[in-house]
């Protein structure tokens, strides 16, 4: 843990956040898109879904490591307690989903004995035995949690924009960069 208090996330954390934000949103769109088409793009989307999902798993672990090393900037001192709690909790749920979704996808394919092919000729080992009940549980979880994930991201997006446009308290800039609004520093009392 760094003992210096930053008012921003480190550049590495910001890059990871935005790259992963794009990847995760893309994954959600690819996921619902691929299961709703019979066109050849079905296969193209599936062939992106698997490696990109595994990439998100790896990036999420790296990101948590970076976070453990560099910490996070404090939330504004005057953020109401319920909002503070919502922010902290939702961030942990987001991290949990970034890790759980790819593992569930991988497990679901394993439990159905599909080869988990990432690229032409490159495949992952199976992590579960063939099992109809495991497959069904994981398949239901993958679908339900995908919707939870998306709903949470919409809330997160709304909250980020609320900080940026309404509260103007520097929270958005902590992740987005750019200069925070003038009046955001707490007076030293």
């Amino acid at each position: 843990m760094s003992d210096v208090i930053h008012d921003r996330f480190t550049p590495l954390q910001r890059v990871l956040h935005w790259v992963m934000a794009i990847c995760i949103l893309a994954m959600l769109f690819i996921g619902v898109g691929m299961v709703s088409t019979v066109m050849p793009k079905h296969l193209t989307l599936v062939s992106i879904h698997k490696p990109l999902g595994i990439a998100i798993l790896v990036l999420a672990l790296v990101r948590l490591g970076v976070r453990a090393r560099y910490g996070t900037p404090p939330l504004p001192y005057d953020l109401p307690e319920p909002m503070r709690l919502a922010a902290v909790l939702s961030h942990w749920v987001l991290y949990a989903l970034m890790i759980a979704m790819p593992l569930i996808g991988w497990g679901m394919l394993s439990a159905a004995r599909y080869p988990v092919v990432l690229f032409d000729g490159v495949h992952l080992p199976s992590i579960l035995p063939l099992s109809d009940s495991l497959h069904t549980a994981l398949w239901n979880a993958h679908r339900a949690l995908a919707l939870v994930f998306f709903a949470l991201i919409l809330l997160h997006l709304a909250a980020a924009l609320f900080h940026a446009l309404v509260r103007r308290d520097g929270v958005f800039q902590a992740m987005a960069g750019g200069s925070p609004p003038k009046v955001q520093i707490a007076p030293a009392e």
Partner: protein
């Protein structure tokens, strides 16, 4: 301390509206992508729904080719296929096979007497951990040239309107060869003497990186057992499975895998069109069927013979069917495995 909102560039209401529009826009794009705003889109769920009337789904079973029997065996590659594809499965050697004989029906309790279009599904695994799955059928060509056409065929054949099929046939003249085959092809009394055709075109990539568009078939070593349809009708409802078990108990069964290579310009995207007979064909190996197991607790039960499970060296072509099959087989698989309780794993009937 000055209030935070001391100098907003715009009223709060406008900011909230902007937020609502952004969030609503993303949500709408998601709903559109998922097909929730386009009920007319042909989705894998709709295709699978079209196989059975509502409430008549074969719970726990495959939504098509619902009746079948598992087998294990080997594929012995003779090495000739290596000229067409670098896939390990074509290097001379023996590779294990897990397969399933089946016939086209949406009723797992259908009598084998009704088995007009028999099928063979195989999965071949190689020591490099790769796998090749393929589903092949007895028809010489596929009935329709497009996926939408196949859906329309399912709807027309399931329709109570006596005019539906004639109207479909009028719109889809490409179905004529299959119609002719249905009328004239001999009925056979075994899974063992049937030629099974892959019908869809795939691309083989050889070690120089060159692609070859191909279709493959399994040619039986067993002699034909053609019987008049009237004689067949008197047989046991499970006679195909009994026949297979008796034959395999007496000795292994063999098929030669034959690969046909398209010439430039051959209709690779349309499985309803045969390629001319003079095209180069290469025998790449032999399938040997060694053991047979009832499906209920057999090793093929929970396998999805998705034809896009391919090893490096084989990939899909401009034929749109494998993608559609992959999407639909996954739905069928998701449903039937979730309904496993409706299909007990105990062996019943004539297939111990």
């Amino acid at each position: 301390m000055p209030p935070r909102q001391s100098a907003p560039s715009r009223p709060v209401a406008v900011s909230l509206l902007v937020i609502a529009l952004v969030v609503g826009g993303v949500a709408a794009a998601f709903a559109y992508t998922a097909g929730w705003l386009s009920p007319e889109r042909l989705t894998p769920d709709r295709i699978v729904d079209a196989f059975s009337p509502p409430g008549k789904e074969p719970l726990g079973h495959r939504r098509n080719h619902a009746k079948g029997i598992c087998f294990t065996g080997v594929f012995e590659a003779n090495g000739e296929g290596a000229a067409l594809s670098k896939a390990r499965v074509f290097a001379k050697g023996q590779y294990p096979v897990l397969g399933r004989f089946n016939f086209g029906t949406t009723d797992p309790a259908a009598s084998d007497v009704t088995a007009r279009v028999k099928g063979l599904a195989i999965s071949i695994t190689t020591p490099d951990g790769q796998e090749w799955r393929s589903g092949m059928i007895q028809l010489p060509v596929f009935p329709v040239s497009t996926v939408q056409g196949f859906y329309d065929l399912l709807v027309a054949s399931g329709s109570k309107d006596p005019g539906a099929m004639p109207a479909f046939v009028a719109k889809h003249p490409e179905i004529a060869p299959v119609g002719e085959w249905m009328k004239t092809a001999p009925w056979t009394a075994s899974y063992a003497d049937v030629r099974y055709n892959g019908l869809n075109a795939f691309l083989f990539t050889d070690s120089s990186g060159a692609d070859h568009a191909v279709r493959w078939s399994m040619l039986p070593a067993q002699q034909p057992t053609d019987v008049p349809a009237d004689d067949l009708a008197k047989r046991d409802p499970n006679f195909l499975e009994q026949d297979l078990q008796e034959r395999v108990a007496a000795g292994p069964l063999h098929w030669t895998m034959s690969v046909m290579v398209a010439n430039p310009g051959d209709p690779t995207a349309d499985p309803s069109k045969a390629w001319p007979d003079d095209r180069k064909t290469i025998d790449v190996g032999t399938l040997t069927v060694q053991n047979v197991q009832a499906e209920a607790n057999g090793p093929c039960r929970d396998i999805n013979y998705d034809p896009t499970v391919l090893p490096g060296g084989i990939r899909t072509s401009d034929d749109p069917f494998p993608a559609a099959r992959s999407s639909a087989y996954a739905v069928s698989y998701d449903r039937r495995t979730a309904e496993a309780g409706d299909y007990p794993r105990t062996t019943t009937g004539a297939t111990p």
